[in-house]
Amino acid sequence: MDQAGLARAIDELAARDIEAVAVGFLHSFTNPDHERRTGEAIVRRLPEMGVTLSSDVSPEMREYERFSTACANAYIQPLMGRYLKGLERELQQTGFVCPLLLMTSGGGITTVETAIRYPVRLIESGPAAGAIFAGCIARQHGLDQVVSFDMGGTTAKICLIDKAQPQTARLMEVARVYRFLKGSGLPLRIPVIEMVEIGAGGGSIARLDALKRIAVGPDSAGSQPCPVCYGQGGSAPTVTDADLVLGRIDPHRFSGGKIALDAAGAEHAIADRVGAPLGLSADHAALGISEMVDENMANAARVHAIESGKDARARTLIAFGGAAPLHAARVAEKLGVDRVLVPANAGVGSAVGLLRAPVAYEIVRGRLVRLSEFDAAAVNQLLSEMRAEAEAVVRRGAPTAELTEQRSSFMRYRGQGHEIAVELPVCAFTDADRTPLVQRFEAAYRRLYSRSIPGVDIEILSWVVSLRAPAEGRLAAEAVERPGKAVPLSHRAVFDPDRGEFVDTPIYWRADLVPGAQIRGPAVIAEDETSTVVSADFDARIDRFGYIELTRRES
């Protein structure tokens, strides 16, 4: 190591009043020694300095992603450190004695100390909580294949959930220059719940593009200006305005009747900006807006599934977030999904997910191991070190719970550029485990690509150990279902997309419906925060958890 060069660099850090620094050396995921010695030298001279080592925060191959992750961590560390320490202190002063835990991007809960050390692991943890919420519902309902659909005011987030586990990845992108354009942001290589996010929400603005095609989003009306129908000065028509014009939202009972919606204003804006240039009435233009946003969401879900080597069909769609129940049935039709669940508390799913997430931590380490030279003792040592590191984190939040460990690895044929995830057994390996490891990899490879390649060596690039305490509590009390036809509260004209006209449609009040209640579509089930549209192809039933279950009728 060039000690003199290092000393000069530290002089410069001192001279420039720098608060936090990231250290990144090539190949440090294999040998972190130089990064560690550099970090120690910095702290010796500048004890107040926040130091992030790339080999600590993201010990995996590919320098750009690793260094970018280290820089992001260093960048937010001073601010997050001050904030979290202050929050913890004030909570204690106010009399809270319980530990303060934080949600991570990977969907687990962690302690304040870990969050201060690796603040980058908290990024996008709100949406992750939504996926955890849907995962809990999947477990509770025994659903193996789920797609969660979280549509709020500005974006829609879609996550695939298999066997109650939201799909995870090790790479995400933040600070995109073009908000929804992949590749325009900075990569972070950390464990994350993988979801696709598109600019489609209740506040997404509709307009005509250069070719007079209806375009919705990705820009949205926030709280100011807002959808035209809120009467707060918004003038650009939004998805919520379209939903109102189509009769799906009751203008008088919106938000529990606290906000009277301006249906005429919404209609005028839609007719003006979208309808007139196309020669369409306001109703048809509103339908065009609604269809386009639904199409965008369904397309995003399909492409996301393909990217993950999965299929969006044959899944149950779990819909939450303020706007999702209005659009879930139509999105399901477009995806070829036959079953939709709209849980109670659909408007605040992410918040519920935060309360249900397990105390958990995931450690990823890059360590190249060729199966032809598999050394069981070295691998066992690596994995038990990782387990100890994860346990130290989890124990702070769950001192006594029984912990579940999962192991996996990222493997590829030697010479390939991409790895695939392969689950590993939690046990001590012996040298005889080489063959079963080959078989595990080949089985996983065939699942994705329908073929394996004989005679090529296989290598493991990185190793993952995830440790979790059990999630606590149930989502909702179970009740007994009493099957029977529900009684509508009223009837209202709601636009039927198939017939292209308004149809007198029964409106139900969700709070009045008891488990077992049955409703034949088309119908609308209204509640304070949102409304669930039951399209003509679906029937609805209230299940024993109080959730609305939509089932597609056999045609």
């Binding site: 065009g288 269809e291 386009m292 393909i306």
Partner: protein
């Protein structure tokens, strides 16, 4: 089910189906990326995918992909239909070629076309083009003197008939390429992704109850053509000329363009362009059209979807036998070297008519040496080394210089435009090949000066690990002809190629880096835009503090003085700029 109850609904459905087609081809492309074997497809995204109507008109194209592929494919499908008319195609058929003159300009690109059937009728076609890692021959360098030296040629022929793969063809392919598993795997992936596209198309036709794509196709093509022409008509009619000189292989090449804006479109004539090169950097007309049309579309109608309608108003002509319209059997393997300059040529014409101007010239041509070693491949070894013992390897590294400054924004540093491919991490390359990168950093001062600064190139130093010599297929442009600035902006730095030892090395052709030596590449920067003396002094200061520019260059090129505390010395700056 969707009933078609009235004209309003039908209009809405047409719009939704157009969006759906774009999603279908994106799924087609993602299926390709998921199932492909070679890194060029999976890592760098060197592919294209699209859906075509019965007449071979491209209706939609996946956003993923390079312009050289997409637009060549758009034009290439009709050549398949000339040889195999749609009426004779059957479900389960796939057709293939890598003919440079009919598709995307070199043998490394394989195009597969697949008919789609709905209720027994052929309703359209799916096509995709991919860059395979090897096609035999000399490799992807410019040293071949005829296309025959550049690898295996596959004329348009069936890849599969009614679901049965053409096993004879696959055996020939396997026997001719260095990476048979990867190449065969990629060919299978081509067929698989077209099948996925067809399945999704059939679902769409079921959902919207349409029997064919004729009406939808006409609407897409018409609307896109009309929108493109509307944009073109906003520009002043006339003929605008530009000329760009590039290094070439052994002698400079002049690319001469006369761009004519008329009421019905834009035509670019390359009369006066240099004759074809004796080395493999020649461009076929189809590929010339692809990159020319991309350059025009980026500036004139960037938001109009790319399809047959939006491409139709943009046409090219080039004298037969020139470097942009090479005849068979002239060599073409490294045709991107010249082709990627075409957007710069077009920009120079359009700068004369587009309000506010267009980006300055950039590095444009990728610097992507093929690096290999071992056995018979290297020219010299260290004394006492047995060449048989050297590790055998072959890899490509993609690297790029800076893009031109934009009107209102700086250029992008070390970013590929127009090709759009990604670079490969140092750690990834070093883990598969016995090479060491000694340096890879922004090249200080390489961005052309301007009110908006050109993007920076990068400095790379790479050699064989230990005493390994490495062989290279070099193909480095803009060493003698740097990227030019616009409206008073300065030139970007010219590229430089050297060996650490000081021994001479040429920027083009096959050579060896001797044992314990290293190749030093200094990639070109982009040109600047506008007078550098009008650049915000604070931005100049930021560049100095970020190490992108020296304080001396700030003073000399920008007239900005930076004091010892790293602040702008406004008095001195005013004095400098007043001169």
């Amino acid at each position: 089910m969707v009933a078609r109850s009235n004209a309003a609904l039908a209009q809405i459905h047409q719009q939704i189906m157009w969006s759906r087609l774009i999603a279908v081809v994106e799924e087609q492309a993602q299926t390709m990326i998921r199932t492909a074997f070679s890194t060029s497809v999976r890592e760098a995204g060197d592919l294209s995918a699209g859906v075509f109507d019965r007449h071979g008109r491209m209706l939609a194209q996946a956003v993923t992909g390079t312009p050289g592929h997409v637009n060549s494919m758009a034009n290439g499908v009709k050549f398949f239909l000339d040889v195999f008319p749609l009426s004779g195609m059957k479900p389960g058929d796939h057709y293939i070629t890598n003919d440079p003159w009919l598709t995307s300009g070199h043998l490394h690109d394989i195009t597969v076309v697949t008919p789609s059937f709905y209720r027994g009728q052929a309703v359209g076609l799916f096509a995709n083009t991919i860059h395979v890692v090897d096609i035999g021959g000399l490799g992807m360098g410019p040293d071949g003197r005829q296309v025959f030296e550049e690898g295996l040629a596959i004329p348009i022929m069936p890849l599969a008939r009614e679901g049965r793969m053409n096993e004879d063809l696959l055996r020939i392919v396997r026997a001719n390429v260095r990476e048979p598993l990867q190449v065969e795997g990629d060919i299978y992936a081509c067929a698989a992704c077209n099948d996925e596209g067809s399945r999704r198309l059939v679902e769409m036709m079921d959902e919207f109850e349409i029997a064919n794509l004729d009406r939808l196709g006409d609407q897409i093509v018409e609307a896109s053509r009309a929108a493109t022409i509307e944009r073109i008509r906003k520009l002043p009619r006339g003929t605008y000329r530009n000329s760009l000189t590039m290094d070439g292989y052994d002698k400079p090449l002049v690319l001469n363009a006369a761009l004519t804006i008329s009421d019905d479109g834009i035509h670019v004539d390359f009369e006066g362009t240099s004759p074809a090169s004796s080395y493999g950097i020649n461009v076929v007309l189809n590929y010339c059209l692809a990159y020319t049309a991309f350059g025009v579309k980026c500036l004139v109608a960037p938001d109009v979807p790319n399809n047959a309608g939006s491409l139709e108003p943009i046409t090219v002509s080039a004298p037969e036998g020139c470097v942009l319209n090479a005849n068979r059997p002239w060599p073409v393997a490294a045709r991107h070297t010249v082709g990627q300059m075409l957007p710069d040529v077009v920009s120079g014409c359009l700068h004369q008519v587009i309000a506010g101007g267009v980006p300055a010239e950039g590095a444009s041509s990728l610097w992507n040496p093929q690096i290999f070693g071992g056995g018979s491949l290297v020219d010299e070894v260290e004394e006492g080394t047995d060449a048989n013992e050297l590790p055998l390897f072959s890899t490509v590294i993609f690297h790029c210089g800076g893009t031109g400054a934009r009107p209102g924004k700086d250029g992008l540093s070390a970013t590929s435009f127009p090709s759009g491919v990604r670079t490969i991490p140092v750690e990834a390359t070093e883990s598969i090949a016995p090479v060491i990168f000694y340096r890879r950093e922004f090249r200080e001062g390489s961005g052309g000066a301007g009110k908006f600064r050109g993007g920076l190139g990068q400095a790379i130093e790479i050699g064989g690990a230990g005493a390994n010599p490495i062989a290279l297929l070099c193909n480095f442009e803009r060493v003698k002809n740097p990227a030019r600035g616009r409206d008073g902006g300065g030139v970007g730095a010219a590229g430089e190629v050297a060996l650490r030892s000081g021994r001479p090395i040429r920027p083009k052709g096959r050579q060896t880096v001797p044992p314990r030596d290293a190749l030093q590449l200094r990639l070109p920067g982009g040109g600047g835009f506008g007078d550098p003396r009008t650049r915000d002094p604070e931005h100049v200061r930021d560049d100095v503090l970020d190490g992108l520019l020296t304080a001396e260059a700030a003073r000399r090129d920008y007239g900005v003085a930076i004091d010892v505390d790293g602040q702008v010395d406004h008095t001195e700056t005013k004095r400098l700029r007043a001169r």
